[in-house]
Each structure stands twice: as C-alpha cells, then as structure tokens.
C-alpha cells in the first residue's frame, strides 16, 4: 500500500468515525418515564416548540406569546396525526429532537407512552389540580387510570352525532333515522333516489371504533400486567355485520375518505349523512361549501329504540415530549391552551373544537347557532352526546399498526374481497404479533 493510499484510507476512516460519533451522541435520549418529582421552572427566557394540525392554531399561540414574553412558543403545523405527524414524532423521539409539545389524539397516547415518549407532568405546578377542570373520561385518557400520573393535558373531545342533509330528507319525505334499523331502511330509500345515505370509510378505523364504543364494546384492556386485545367482541361483530350488509347491498358508497372525491360526494349531495364527531362540523363546512345551510345535526342512531349512547371519535391532548428541557413552562402553556376561555373560544371558532374542559362547555360560542348548520345550536347535541360517552374505552399501545392492518382489511372488504369481520379478526392476530414483537405483555 502506497503512502497516499494509506493517507486516503486514514482520512476516510477518520471522517466516518467523526460521523458515527456525531450520530451516537445525538441519538442518546433521556429515560422515558420522566420523574414526576422534578418539574422546576427554568430561569430566563424560554423558547418552546409545538407541533399541531389544528386549523388556526397559529393565531391562538400568538395570543399566548403576546401575554408571555418570557415563554415564547413557536408553532409548527403538519398533517393530521395518522396522516404523518405521528410518524414524524416517533422519528424525532428516536433521534432525540422532538418538539417540546405536540398534539396527540387520545387513541395514540398509549402508543407514545409505550415508546417512552411522554413526560409525566404530575409534579408540574397546577397540573394535578387541573383534574377537576376536565370532563372525567378525558382525564382518564391522559392519566391511564393511575394516580400521580398526567401524561398530557386534554384538549378536545369528539362526541359523535349524525350530520345529515335535512333539506334532502324533507324533500324526499324520508324520516330522519333514530335507530340503526331505521337508518338501514332510510339507506334503501335514499339509494332509490340515486344517492347514498353515507360513505363507509375504509380507513377511519377510529370512527369504526367510535361506533363500537357506542355499541358498548371496547378493543383493549390493560390489567397492569398484561394487555388484552379484543377486536372481535360481540359489539364489534354487531357493528361489522351491520355495515357489511349495507356495503353488500350497495347502500353506502365506499370512496376513500378525506379525498377530493369524498368531498365532492358531500358537496354534490351524493352522500346524505355522516356519523362523526363534533370537530367534523369543520370538515363538512370546508369540504362541502356549496351545501351551506342545508345540514343539521341529530343524535347518533341507537341500537335499541329509546337508548341514549354515544361513541367518541378523536379528540386530542397536548403532550410534553420526553427530552423537553422546560416541562414546567410547557405544562403552563398546555393548561392555558386547553382551559382558558380565550383560547377555547378561538379553537372552536377556527376548528369547531369541542373542549374537554368542563368550563369550556358553557362558553358563549358553544350556545350560539352555527350558520352553516342553518343556525342550529349544534353543540347542544354534542353536549348531550358527550354526557353519554362511556368512560371505559381503552386504546392499545400500537394503534398505528392496528389501524393500518384493519384498514388494509376494510379496503379489501369494500372491494369485495373478504368482510369487515375478517378484517377485524386478522387485525386481532396482527396486533397481538405487533405487541409481542415489542415485548409488550399480551394475553392470547
């Protein structure tokens, strides 16, 4: 080997060693379950970063920044959680450069906790006391039923109700369904006019979970030593068979959701109802602008006439990620964001968020009629729904994977290969496998 060659080799080796060292120091992150004991205020100016996908969140953060020159929050927006932001969070956590705060839906919180991604805020000033400020079941989602644990501050909830085209139902003399049986009958009548009563979403598995939730089912249990996965309980089977029947009889359309095609179906009156959450009010208004004034909101159809049960779809919390150097300030911001009247009003006006804070439920803005819905005071319906949401629904620790796998099966089902129930059955198996692959204890 000549001298030059050796020099080159040495140079290359040095370069790559430097690179490797750089990587490993950047990658080492602090321990996951942060000590609840340490949450001291920082001294001096604090800069926080916050990632969220709520429309109009920048304006809300601006208000905070005006009032708190010492705690400045820089907000970054992205696609909705399952649409890419969660993946970014996971990657950032792995790389040790996650933002201080992030928006996380309740169904994804266990997933982040099991990846050591969340800071326990219980020791932060005012956080434990805030429990009484929030609707019970939302607090249950952020403390996982443990004392001395608060892994996020609840932001909004997604009690479900039925959005429907009141004008079309009236014009065609079709009764607005109050039970799922009536809904199926109405589906036939709507189909006779050439339209569909709704679009069955093949990839909103959290919506389907909301329907199972309403039917009294739950998908996961955590007894402290083991997880139980139960995607195919009686309630799940009932809901799956019901929608499978509507799909088989071509009474619901099956466009991929959140696409222009889907918006178009609602905008042109090709789909008449949508069982969705409070925040869905915003999705319809922005996706189907031509139908302003023609929509109304009614309680979700019930499985038994006279029942009063609701499911929940979505709803977010504000979490502080592992590795944040300023959990105290981050917690203060999260509390303000999700309890102050000013912030909650703005969030409702820009994104139709339905607050998780109990005080928020009496906000003037929630009592008013909403123009897009013909002036109906739609939040009254969601308030009733919210009070009937069962607090017992538990989310699993690998929901991204569960959603992906069930969605793959639902996609097959709507294209005529397999059924919704088969999708749930294979999702059950793959979820158990995914848990095992991460050494998460699970009962078979």
């Amino acid at each position: 080997m000549s001298r030059t060659k050796r020099a080159v080799v040495v140079a290359l080796l040095t370069a790559s060693t430097v690179a490797l060292v750089g990587c490993s120091t950047g990658g080492s992150s602090a321990s996951g379950d942060a000590d609840a004991a340490s949450c001291e205020p920082s001294t001096g100016q604090v800069d926080l970063t916050f990632t969220s996908w709520i429309p109009g969140i920048e304006d809300v953060v601006d208000v905070w920044n005006e009032a708190n020159p010492d705690i400045q929050v820089a907000v970054q927006t992205g696609p909705n959680g399952n649409g890419g932001t969660y993946q970014n969070f996971f990657n950032q956590l792995k790389a040790g450069n996650a933002p201080d705060l992030g928006q996380i839906e309740y169904d994804a919180l266990p997933n982040f906790r099991v990846q050591n991604g969340l800071t326990n805020l219980a020791a932060c000033d005012g956080v434990l006391d805030a429990q009484n400020d929030f609707v019970d079941w939302t607090w249950g989602q952020v403390n996982f039923g443990e004392d001395d644990a608060v892994y996020a501050i609840p932001q909004d909830s997604g009690p479900m109700a039925m959005f429907y085209r009141s004008d079309l139902f009236a014009a065609n003399n079709i009764a607005v369904p109050t039970t799922w049986a009536e809904y199926a009958v109405a589906a036939e009548q709507v189909r006779a006019t050439g339209s569909y009563i709704t679009n069955f979403s093949q990839s909103d598995i959290n919506q389907f979970a909301g329907l199972v939730w309403q039917a009294g089912g739950t998908w996961f249990e955590n007894d402290g030593t083991d997880w139980t996965v139960d995607l195919t309980s009686d309630a799940s089977v009932t809901v799956a068979d019901y929608w499978q029947d509507l799909i088989d009889r071509d009474l619901v359309s099956t466009n991929p959701p959140w696409t222009t095609e889907w918006d178009n179906a609602y905008n042109t009156g090709a789909a008449w109802t949508w069982t969705s959450a409070a925040w869905g009010a915003n999705s319809i208004a922005s996706g189907a602008p031509d139908t302003a004034g023609k929509w109304s909101v009614a309680p979700s159809p019930q499985w038994q006439a006279g029942d009063d049960a609701s499911g929940n779809w979505g709803g977010s919390s504000t979490a502080v990620f592992t590795g944040s150097e300023h959990p105290f300030e981050a917690a203060q911001f999260a509390l303000w964001l999700n309890t102050s009247e000013e912030s909650l009003t703005m969030l409702n006006e820009s994104a139709n968020l339905y607050p998780a804070a109990t005080d928020g439920l009496t906000l003037p803005v929630l009592q008013e009629g909403v123009e897009f819905y013909g002036g109906q005071a739609i939040y009254d319906v969601f308030a009733d729904a919210s009070s009937t949401v069962s607090p017992d629904f538990v989310w699993g620790p690998t929901m991204t994977q569960t959603y992906n796998d069930v969605s793959d099966g639902f996609k097959a089902a709507v294209t005529g290969q397999g059924t919704l129930l088969e999708a749930l059955t294979s999702g059950q198996t793959s979820t158990i496998d995914a848990l095992k692959a991460q050494s998460i204890p699970v009962k078979e």
Binding site: G32, T260, N404, T415, S439, I440
Partner: protein, 314 residues
Amino acid sequence: MSATVDLAPTVPRADAPPRPTKPRGRARVQHPLAIVIFVVPFGILFSLFYLVPIGYAIYQSLLVIEREGTFGEAREVFGGLTQYVLVFQNGPFWESIARVLTFGAVQVPIMLGLALLFALLLDSPLLRGKRFFRLAFFVPYAVPGVIAAIMWGFLYSPSLSPFSAVTSNINFLSADLVLWAIANVVTWVFVGYNMLIIYSSLLAIPAELYEAARLDGAGQLRIAWAIKIPLILPAITLTAIFSIIGTLQLLAEPQVFRSFSSAVTSTFTPNLTVYSTSSIPNFNLAAAFSVVLALATFILSFAFLKFTQRKDEK
C-alpha cells in the same frame, strides 16, 4: 443477418488505436496531497450519507426490544437475527416483492421499448422538429413523482376525471387494475429520462459508420437494427438496471394512490411495508426489511448485469 452481426463489433475495433500496454510497477504518484484533497470531500459525504446510514440500519436490525410491564421502559438489546426471521415469516412483505417483480417484468420492457423507439426516432434523419420532441418527451420527468401521481390519480378518478365517461365505466383504481395504473404513471414519468440516456449514447456513434452502412445499401431501419441498437446496448443495460432498482423501491406513487384507491394497502410495495412498519414504530423490523430489500435489489441488478455481459461475450 450474419453480415450485420459482423458489422457492429468489427468496425469500432478497426478504428481504435492500439492500446498502450500498462507499465508494471507504477511510477510514483505525482501529487499525493492533491489526490487527498480531491477525495476527502467525497469520502466524507459518502460516509455520512451512505456508509453510516447503512451501518446504522444493519445495527438497528440486529436489536430487539425488551421491557417489563404493560408500559415498561423499552430497552434495545442484541437479538441476533431475530428480526430477519420475522422478515422471512412475513407473508405480506414477500407478496409485495412478488407484486413489484410482476410490475417490473411488464413495465420495464414497455418503458425501455418506448424510450428506445423515441430515441431512435429522434436520431433518425426522418423526423422534423427534433428539439421540440426531445423536450416534449422529457418534460414529464421534470414533474416531481408525487405531483405526477396526484395528477394521474385525478385523471383516473371515477367522478372527478375529465374523462369520466371512460373512468366511470372502467375503474382504473380497482384491485385488478391499480398496479397497471401505477405502471402507466411510472412509464409516463420515466420514458423521457431513459430516452435521453439512450439518445445521448446514440449521438456518440461516429457518423462514418452510417456512411459506410449506407454505401453498403442499408436503409434507416436496417441501420437502426444492425448498427445503432448493438452499439447502444450498454446504455440500454444501464437504463434497465436503473429501472429494476426503481421498481423494487417503488414508494411515492403507491403512497399517493393509497388515498385514491381502496386497493393500495399499507404493504402494497416493499418500501411501503418498510414505511408502515417504521410508523408503528418498530424501527428494528423496518431496518431488517430495508436490509433484505437492499440485498434483493443488489442481487437482481447484479444478476441482470452478469446475464447481459455473458451475452455480450458470446
């Protein structure tokens, strides 16, 4: 036929100057420092963005997660080839490999055939407006792959397409057709790119060869078949290898089509499987998938190269 086969290899050889024999035991290198200066920037970038990531992926793929309790803290411990066993047991991953191989077997020959045809047309004296066509064929490549996929997604869409008379009757986004709908997008984007590689290699053929062929009475078709194609075979091989690699690594187009079509699952192509595995997040298994995929790509490309080289030597 035999005359034409002889023609191609003999002519360039006759032209080539006699090769100087390499002196054994090289002379001293003149500017050692200069060489180092030239190599180091490349070396650093190559290590940073190539060797280190590959090494890190291999390292990650050898780890498994351990924890105690339902929310116990995860520890990464050495797990040998555990993740690779999972890869080989993973049905959907191998189905996706089979899917892209089917895709490649059909799409790559069509695309390269078209690219070759267009390149020959551009190179033939018969065509007018060469500059325009050269640009026109190449323009789709300037459209980013994601944008192209979105655009075609709308064109295929049953109710939004400007050709809804066609798309409402034939569902290009159905389980049977979506793979070929994606093949069409990929072909549309990459024909121009491959055409340009082949075309530039056509331009390098010395004009005397054509003159000689014409004197021998060969027409344009004959020239194309007997002179041009044999001489640009290396360029075609190159484009074929690029295409094989590209096919195995399909990601952007199917990812975009996931939102248009019910038939594109989260494990539709190998790279989508990697992507959705890393979003669980199960980085270790995703890394193992990537390593296996890289090896498969390497083996396929290398096998293709060997295969074509052997044919050349005959």
